[in-house]
């Protein structure tokens, strides 16, 4: 959990501010997951801070929700070409992928539970998308 929190802070994901009048902050919570290897054995524990994205309103808090995914048939075609030509294939995984996109809209979020700053009344003004956001996959 501390790792994830540090990654969020390092990434300049949000800045603490006073909540302006009329703005509604959205909540967030921690999700704990156990990651497994391909053969089902334990890999590691993982903590995610997720925003309660279902409180967001279309056109106000978010507008577009598209994310880049590849079609299954393309995977098969590319891998067939790879196998036939004996090409090397590498797999890479981006850490905290969702945290790279800059957020266009202004969204306020309550401070993460358990790791609040000394002043509880402050809220996080988000600079980057986090998990749970409607627009997170496309940022």
């Amino acid at each position: 959990m501390q790792d994830e929190y540090n990654a969020l802070i390092e990434n300049n994901t949000w800045s603490l501010t006073e909540l302006p009048k009329g703005a509604t902050p959205i909540g967030c919570k921690w999700i704990f997951k156990i990651k497994y290897n391909a053969d089902g054995t334990f890999q590691r524990h993982k903590a995610h801070l997720v925003a309660k994205g279902f409180h967001q309103q279309h056109g106000f808090d978010y507008s577009e929700t598209f994310s880049p995914v590849v079609k299954p048939s393309i995977i098969s075609i590319v891998l067939t070409v790879v196998v036939s030509n004996n090409w090397p294939v590498h797999l890479i995984d981006i850490n905290n992928a969702f945290l790279y996109g800059d957020l266009k809209e202004t969204v306020f979020m309550l401070q993460p539970p358990g790791l609040e700053s000394a002043i509880h009344s402050l809220v996080c003004k988000l600079n980057k998308a986090i998990y749970g956001f409607k627009q997170a996959p496309c940022s």
Partner: protein
């Protein structure tokens, strides 16, 4: 160079390893990333390389998770994913109680087509009732799951071929679809 991107999972391939390494180090300057090395597991698909360079794709773990989700772990295997005389009608029985379970399982089955293309027809059928699934539609879904129980270790083998050819097959089967009377048509493209 070919780069497949699935949100945060990226597959890179090119004729030489040095070019791949160059791209990875370039990406590393902008993102924190992990180079997982030679392709072995991505998007829930296990990729195993045979000694002669063929690639075997399988979704064994994904199928097991699916069995757990649908409480079918001890299902009796069936030899086919569908009864040949099946006429899946719109109505005919009571509404299936857990609509979201139906949608979730059928959605996962769609993803399984990648390595189990033989279930695509039956999955397409059960997909047509997502908005209002009935008990007998759920039975058809369970039939597909039972079939998978018998083929859980099967997968798709991509074999080396010196010349890649594109082949197309088409089939129109007039009047056999009893529900809509529309001719079910099939077109298939293969790359061998």
């Amino acid at each position: 160079m070919m780069v497949l991107i699935y949100v945060d999972d990226i597959i890179i391939t090119r004729t030489s390893t040095s070019h791949i390494q160059a791209l990875i180090s370039c990406l590393r300057q902008h993102f924190a990333l992990k180079d997982m090395g030679r392709l072995y597991y991505f998007l829930g698909i296990k990729a195993s390389w045979t000694t002669n360079g063929d690639l075997h794709l399988s979704q064994t773990k994904y199928i097991k998770d699916l069995f757990n989700k649908s409480n079918m772990s001890s299902a009796r295997p069936q030899l086919s994913p569908m009864i040949s005389s099946t006429r899946i009608a719109q109505d005919g029985s009571t509404t299936f109680s857990d609509t979201s379970l139906y949608r979730s399982i059928v959605g996962s089955l769609q993803y399984l087509i990648l390595t189990c293309p033989e279930i695509s027809y039956s999955v397409n059928k059960v997909c047509q009732f997502m908005y209002n699934p009935q008990e007998h539609h759920w039975k058809s879904v369970k039939r597909i799951l039972r079939y998978l129980a018998g083929t859980i270790h099967h997968g798709l083998l991509l074999r080396k071929s010196p010349h890649l050819h594109i082949q197309a097959f088409a089939n129109a089967n007039w009047g056999l679809d009893l529900m809509t009377k529309n001719p079910p048509q099939a077109t298939q493209f293969t790359l061998e």
